[in-house]
């Protein structure tokens, strides 16, 4: 029972990890929290739906195309809508993100109306039985794919010059500019990567859940909770926070009350921020005058 719950928790947590990590990528380089990120996740899922179900493209090329499309969307969003309002209050950024999310959701609703769309399962893998433990094909697929994606992501950060650039920009935008990093373009790229990674989460969740234009809202909150738990701005913290969130949702739902699944994320946010605001792996912020 415990093991079974852990596995379904990890498979949920893997999706949250992609969402939380993509939020963190944007936050680290631009200090903007994308309040419209849930709708980017939804948009990624919808693009892959259009390609696979409506146009008959195979899943893998469709997923790659959807990720590229969302990367470009993130890039254009940063270039066209975030750069012009730079220097204004942070509230402006928050609302801009929400507004763009709204536009995406509006488009999705105009095209699909108020229907809920089922996505066909991708790989009809048979479930694996280990003792009385059942691992569904979808869970294996999600956990496996996410592990590979995360490995690639962290390898790029640790082993390449890009990783050093990311660190430089995170530490000081001005310093990074001084040593010849084009920070504006770097930020655009961060938005693109963030949107693309969020889309991956959407594409992975689409086959195991139903698609609807309001899909994103819950992912946004889960992403926030994972980031808060792991420590805002910490990359590995976001992943670990997400996995912990996925697992604790399952435990709370099974052992305490199934109604708790919906609010575990909120309870974690409130608890962590009141008790340990910098989370598990974040740095304490010190106010300097």
């Amino acid at each position: 029972m415990l093991l079974q719950l852990t596995i379904s928790g990890l498979s949920q947590g893997a999706i949250y990890a992609l969402v939380a990590l993509s939020l963190t990528v944007v936050y680290r380089s631009t200090t903007i929290v994308n309040f419209g990120h849930g709708d980017f996740v939804m948009a990624g899922a919808f693009v892959s739906y259009v390609l696979t179900v409506m146009l008959g493209v195979a899943f893998l090329p469709a997923a790659v195309l959807a990720v590229i499309a969302m990367f470009l969307l993130g890039l254009c969003f940063s270039r066209g809508l975030i750069r012009p309002i730079r220097g204004g209050p942070h509230i402006g950024y928050a609302l801009m993100c929400i507004a763009v999310g709204y536009v995406l959701r509006g488009i999705a609703r105009i095209v699909w109306g108020r229907e809920v769309l089922p996505m066909p399962s991708v790989f009809d893998m048979p479930p694996v039985f280990i003792g009385n433990l059942v691992i569904t094909g979808d869970a294996m697929f999600i956990i496996g794919t996410t592990t590979v994606l995360l490995a690639i992501f962290f390898a790029i950060l640790a082993l390449t010059d890009i990783g050093k650039m990311v660190q430089a920009v995170y530490q000081s935008q001005r310093g990074a500019q001084l040593i010849g990093i084009n920070v504006d373009r770097f930020n655009d790229m961060a938005w693109g990567v963030g949107a693309a990674m969020g889309a991956m989460g959407g594409i992975l969740i689409a086959p195991v859940s139903l698609l609807h234009p309001d899909l994103g809202a819950s992912f946004l909150i889960k992403g926030f909770a994972a980031m808060t738990l792991g420590g805002f701005g910490s990359l590995h913290g976001a992943v670990i926070g997400a996995l912990l969130l996925g697992v604790s949702e399952q435990y709370a739902g099974a052992y305490i009350n199934s109604a708790l699944i919906d609010i575990t994320a909120y309870l974690i946010i409130v608890f962590v921020l009141l008790v340990r605001p910098h989370g598990l792996f974040g740095h304490k912020t010190v106010v300097k005058v």
Partner: protein, 322 residues
């Protein structure tokens, strides 16, 4: 350019003239439009309270949906379970909202600021909504509570014309009170905290107390709006107090003008009236809404109120800073 004293007198006249002229509204418009106007008055109050915290105090707190729900449910529970007349529940709802404001300010005082504050207050609103759904014996769960039909001094409270006059009076009172509060030393301290909290504290101003007061006033105004909402729709259920509500009022603040009372009114009027026409097309409402917010952010970052300020100095609010 500051307004001259003649212009200030004209402004005072204008402030009272507009609601005085509005007294005639129920006689000239049809019942549907009146219903919409009642909704606008409620949104004016929500935006007013929300703007007080994010515009004047400068804190990114999203708890106003929680205050709104708390106000609406307090009113509904007090009328249905305790049998109080609705009109008596308005101050009750306001106080309950202020209590919510007090709780939200506790987070801000704990040093939780900016995005952290945004996220924790967002969680506060959603947790309240969870309570509305699950505390079935008091709140009616997902079915919600329906308000009893009442009369006040012989007038039926289901009549939109009667509601309009009550809403109008309350809106004028709360707008005036907010303007006065902003002009007082408390209001000036609130805006000093927005500009620089540490410097404000160094002047001997109790910044913590100022933050609590600002949150509680915001909660009071929005709580009262919740009470009006309960009567307006005659039905209180959890879905009215979700994320959508929050985003709509957030957009109203920004479109009207951050930190401007006039802006709160303009934002509420424009964003309630226009999407109403698009209600029947799924998706169009959201698309339109998103686009108008993007346009305002790009072209008019100070909101619609700044347009009026450019037009005539009488619209300059003295405590407002560009």
């Amino acid at each position: 350019m500051m307004p001259t004293s003649a212009q200030l007198r004209f402004r005072t006249i204008l402030f009272w003239l507009v609601p005085a002229l509005m007294l005639a509204v129920p006689m000239v418009v049809n019942p549907y439009v009146l219903f919409i106007i009642n909704g606008i008055l409620i949104f004016v109050l929500i935006t007013l309270g929300f703007n007080f915290v994010i515009g004047n105090l400068g804190q990114l707190a999203f708890a106003n949906t929680a205050f709104f729900g708390i106000g609406a449910y307090s009113s509904a529970i007090a009328t249905t379970s305790l049998g109080l007349p609705w009109i008596a529940t308005i101050p009750l709802a306001g106080l309950a909202g202020a209590l919510g404001g007090f709780l939200a300010s506790a987070a801000a005082l704990r040093g939780i600021r900016l995005y952290y504050l945004a996220i924790i207050t967002l969680a506060f609103g959603e947790l309240m909504r969870w309570i509305y759904v699950h505390a079935k014996s008091i709140t009616g769960g997902t079915d919600g509570l329906s308000m009893p039909r009442e009369t006040l001094l012989g007038f039926s409270l289901t009549d939109d014309r009667v509601k309009f006059y009550i809403f109008l009076v309350l809106t004028v009172v709360l707008v005036k009170a907010t303007l006065n509060l902003l002009r007082s030393h408390i209001g000036r301290s609130i805006m000093a905290v927005r500009e620089n909290e540490v410097a404000t504290a160094s002047l001997g101003i109790p910044t913590s107390r100022i933050i609590v007061i600002a949150f509680m006033w915001s909660g009071f105004v929005v709580g009262c709006a919740g009470s009006l909402f309960a009567l307006h729709t005659a039905y209180v259920f959890p879905e009215s107090f979700g994320m959508l509500q929050l985003i709509v009022s957030f957009a109203m603040v920004i479109v009207g003008g951050l930190g401007s009372v006039l802006g709160s009114i303009l934002g509420a009027v424009v964003l309630t009236a226009l999407p109403e026409y698009l209600r029947s097309f799924p998706g169009m409402e959201e698309l339109f809404f998103g686009l108008i917010v993007i346009a305002v952010l790009l072209l008019l970052p100070q909101g619609l109120a700044s347009l009026l300020r450019r037009l005539s100095p009488i619209f300059i609010e003295r405590y407002y800073r560009e």
